[in-house]
């Protein structure tokens, strides 16, 4: 069975008084296997972020369902949702979302503290992750004292330390310079190689070309998908840009 199954997901936003309705997701179904590294691409307004919010259980679909490890999101009670999110999912956001009140180390510990883990356990988990993400030296600094790339790696460490079933990343390279972005993608590749399932929404072809599979979304529907197969990153880059060209010219024809 797949780790994550998305079944006929549909999301309609309506204004408060029921006037305008916006169909953000029409009908999306796909599944993600354990250990897969999936990138979701699409234009602005194609529904990527909506999809991610639904996957993150931050929002509820209008219809359809999401199953993680066979457990249906719609069956989780509202009050358990927080704990569920904290324990099963890890997040990396475009704007880092680190708390300025905490050192990098404490930012990383935050979900573990919320889980009630012992300090020893936290330390034990932190060490390899910090090493892998190259932030061991920075742990006692505050977020406003380090660079964007370092912040994003810290955010990744925070997401990974709970050993989530799936790592959700929303434009993780969006606020980074190319060098920091490349570094982060390299690390994502390594984590994926270790068996971590990753689902990443991105604009960047560079970032997406590191993934094993790329889903293209257009107007709230799954438009196309590419598997890596044996292709290396350069070949992937080319295939992705070709697909995007098709995706965008398609918009023109429709328009």
């Amino acid at each position: 069975m797949a780790l994550l199954e998305v079944q006929n997901l549909k999301k309609i936003y309506s204004t408060r008084f029921g006037g305008n309705k916006v169909q953000a997701l029409e009908d999306i179904s796909f599944s993600v296997e354990n250990g897969e590294y999936v990138a979701i691409m699409g234009e602005s307004g194609s529904g990527k972020t909506t999809l991610l919010n639904l996957l993150a259980s931050l929002d509820k679909p209008t219809s359809g369902d999401i199953l993680l490890d066979g457990m249906s999101f719609s069956k989780i009670k509202h009050k358990d949702l927080c704990a569920f999110r904290r324990d099963k999912l890890g997040f990396v956001f475009q704007d880092f979302n680190l708390l300025d009140t905490l050192t990098l180390k404490d930012n990383i510990f935050l979900p573990l503290v919320l889980q009630g883990k012992s300090y020893k356990e936290m330390e034990k988990r932190l060490e390899p992750i910090a090493k892998r993400l190259a932030i061991s030296e920075l742990l006692n600094k505050y977020p406003y004292e380090v660079s964007g790339g370092q912040k994003q790696r810290t955010a990744a460490a925070r997401a990974l330390i709970t050993m989530p079933k799936i790592l959700l990343a929303d434009e993780p390279t969006g606020a980074l310079d190319s060098k920091a972005a490349a570094h982060l993608m390299k690390i994502f590749g390594e984590i994926s190689a270790d068996g971590q399932t990753i689902l990443m929404v991105t604009h960047s072809i560079q970032a997406a070309s590191c993934a094993n599979r790329i889903l293209f979304i257009k107007d709230g529907r799954l438009f196309n998908q590419i598997y890596r197969g044996d292709a290396n990153n350069e070949e992937m880059f080319k295939r992705i840009s070709d697909s995007l060209t098709v995706l965008q010219t398609g918009v023109k024809e429709n328009g």
Binding site: C82, A83, N97, L99, D100, T101, F109, V113, G116, R158
Partner: protein
């Protein structure tokens, strides 16, 4: 050409918009400014008022109003400047945007000048309007508090307008200069960023904490151990200074040191309940310690000002009775005894004329002696060498028995002693070489009061067998017969006006008697006290208001800036896996703690200060420390309730900012 239209229309418009868009910060600022203007104007109007010159006993009030105006200047100017710098910091992004959109520095300067002009005009005109509308009421309150005859004629002198306009004009001008300087020193990109600066780690935390502990501890020790002597006011001011410094250091560094040590304890820190709270408090304290110090100091000042002035006002009746146990005292120069018939004739005539009943009339003679206390003995007093001056009033047993309605007896070597302050407490007394047995230590004399709390009092009444013993003692102390005084004292019954008129007329007659020396009466003293202590209470109330306004304003701005930051934190914590409720409860708990620490510390400061305050009060003849304590309790209670209310009101600004975006 284009430039002139920009200058005449666009820039003023931008200035007006700048104020309107930032209404949530400018409205409280304008309001506080107006209140400051109003209070300043009222003080000035009262002191400039011609009416005050004609009212009896009003000279204290004029002096007090001048002092009030001066203190107000000293307190308000730095406060308003600090608020100004807070405002300009918040506006920097907007001003940076203007300059990116193509406005030159001089244009921004014009905008800021227009803004300052607008805020100045609004606050001054609004403040003066409030003041003029309420001036009559305030004036009546003052007359009422000071016991002056109620006058409805109260006109405002033009000088008050001018002084107020100039004073607040200078403050605004100064603030404008600071703002212009700040903006001209930074480039647009910096202007754009400067409101998002991270907090730097404060330096030398441990050292500053130690200094803070020493200052605060020293201040507390001094306040608790202060001895009542001539330097007590200086000692008090020194203690206040130490406590202010100590509070400052402990809030800015001590609290941080404490929280850091909490963080070092991993078992304690890395627990769900403590983790967010401790780190959040640390962050908040780093950012807002200085505002908290200000809130705390303003709070303490308001509380102590009110305690002092209210207990003085309530205690003034007791103070008058303690000073004058009997309504009127007349002193005559007399060698030995004096024929009272002339004075008694005047007394009888005038009391009948004014329908005042004279009661409890007593007369006695006494000899006043200055002595130097040398360990247990009392020796001859020498101006040049003596250090411990004591005063004795020697009275014969006959006079004592007559005035007190007693039938006591004394041997030649026996005396009775009465201390105006703490008991003498020994069995014998050595007066210039002669030992006397103290037969009895008296606790009460009907013509003088005993105040056990009066630590300054070094005055004894000594009852001796007869005038021979007294003259022997007098000679031994090196005094001659001219030290003998004769006094007549009595109480009065009748209406206030009759009594005043009676005393005035009696005084005229009294001073026509050749032997007359001095007269005192309770009525004049009470009026003096009433006008002085009432005036002080009046000042106290207004300063209490000013301090409180300052405090609430700081609180409000604190809430706004906290709210803006917490809004971001709310989101992040939820994304990381805290539920909405958890986030709210932890953050709101921190906000509450941050706001209730200052009042708690202010109350602690007040409690420590009570002892020294009570001893200072004895200098103003308020010996009733229970009264001071009760006043303190009441003031703290009222102030605490008020603080709570202002917290709730200002917290609404905070909730408004954070709640909108907290739902995902």
């Amino acid at each position: 050409m284009a430039d002139t239209t920009v200058k005449t229309t666009l820039l003023p418009k931008l200035a007006v918009n700048g104020i309107r868009k930032n209404g949530s910060v400018y409205v409280p600022y304008l309001l506080a400014n107006s209140i400051a203007v109003a209070v300043f104007f009222i003080f000035s109007a009262i002191s400039q008022n011609k009416l005050m010159e004609t009212l009896p006993y009003a000279n204290y009030i004029v002096v007090l109003m001048y002092i009030g105006q001066f203190l107000l200047c000293v307190i308000l100017a730095p406060f308003l400047s600090s608020i100004n710098s807070f405002l300009i910091k918040r506006r920097k992004t907007e001003l940076g945007l203007y300059s990116i959109l193509g406005l030159e520095k001089k244009h921004i300067g014009i905008i800021m000048t227009v803004e300052t002009l607008i805020t100045y005009l609004i606050s001054v005109s609004f403040g003066i309007i409030i003041a003029v509308v309420f001036s009559k009421l305030v004036f009546l309150l003052l007359l009422n508090l000071t016991g002056l005859p109620v006058q409805t004629r109260f006109s405002v002198s033009p000088l008050s307008f001018i002084v107020t306009l100039i004073y607040f004009g200078i403050i605004s001008l100064f603030n404008l200069c600071v703002n212009l300087f700040q903006v001209s020193m930074t480039n647009p990109a910096e202007l754009f960023k400067s409101s998002k600066k991270g907090e730097k780690q404060p330096k030398h935390i441990a050292l500053r904490t130690v200094v803070g502990i020493i200052c605060l501890g020293g201040g507390y020790l001094i306040a608790l151990n202060a001895k009542l002597d001539g330097t007590i006011f200086l000692v008090f001011l020194f203690a206040v200074w130490l406590v202010v410094m100590g509070t400052h250091f402990l809030f800015t560094s001590g609290s941080i040191a404490f929280l850091k040590s909490c963080m070092k304890n991993k078992k304690f820190y890395y627990r769900k309940e403590n983790f967010i709270t401790v780190s959040g408090m640390l962050y908040r304290l780093k950012k807002s310690a200085s505002s908290l110090v200000n809130i705390c100091i303003f709070g303490t000042m308001a509380i102590i000002t009110l305690i002092c002035t209210i207990s003085l006002f309530i205690g003034q009746k007791d103070a008058a009775t303690s000073q004058y146990p009997m309504d009127a005292e007349y002193y005559f120069n007399a060698d030995g005894s004096y024929d009272t018939t002339v004075f008694d004739k005047y007394l009888a005539e005038l009391s009948a004329e004014n329908s005042v009943e004279v009661k409890d009339r007593i007369d006695f003679s006494y000899t006043k002696i200055a002595a130097d206390k040398n360990r247990t003995d009392f020796l001859k007093y020498d101006e040049a060498t003596s250090k411990n001056k004591y005063t004795f009033r020697l009275i014969t047993l006959d006079d004592y028995n007559l005035t007190q309605n007693e039938h006591k007896e004394l041997a030649e070597n026996e005396v009775m002693i009465f201390s105006i302050a703490a008991d003498y407490g020994k069995d014998s007394i050595n007066l210039a070489g002669t030992d006397y047995i103290i037969k009895e230590e008296l606790q009460k004399l009907n013509f003088v009061s005993k105040e056990i709390n009066d630590l300054f009092g070094s005055e004894y009444y000594i009852i001796m067998k007869n005038s021979d013993v007294i003259s022997k003692t007098t000679e031994a102390f090196g005094h001659d017969q001219s030290s003998i005084n004769y006094t007549i004292r009595f109480n009065m019954q009748g209406s206030e006006a009759d009594k005043t008129k009676f005393i005035d007329e009696l005084n005229v007659k009294f001073y026509s008697i050749p032997e007359s020396n001095l007269s005192n009466n309770k009525i004049a003293f009470e009026k003096d006290m009433h006008s002085m202590y009432g005036g002080l209470l009046f000042l106290g109330i207004f300063f209490g208001i000013i301090f409180t306004v300052c405090m609430v304003l700081i609180m409000y701005y604190k809430q706004i800036s906290e709210g803006l930051e917490d809004k971001v934190n709310f989101d992040i914590m939820q994304k990381v896996g805290m539920s909405d409720r958890e986030v709210r409860t932890t953050i709101w708990r921190q906000v509450k703690m941050i706001f209730f620490i200052p009042i708690a510390v202010a109350i602690l400061h007040t409690a420590i200060a009570l002892k020294i305050i009570a001893s200072m009060m004895t200098l103003l003849r308020i010996y009733n420390s229970t009264l001071v304590l009760l006043c303190a309790g009441a003031v703290i209670l009222v102030f605490g309730v008020f603080y709570g209310i202002s917290y709730i009101v200002t917290a609404r600004a905070y909730y408004k900012i954070t709640v909108n975006k907290s739902m995902l």
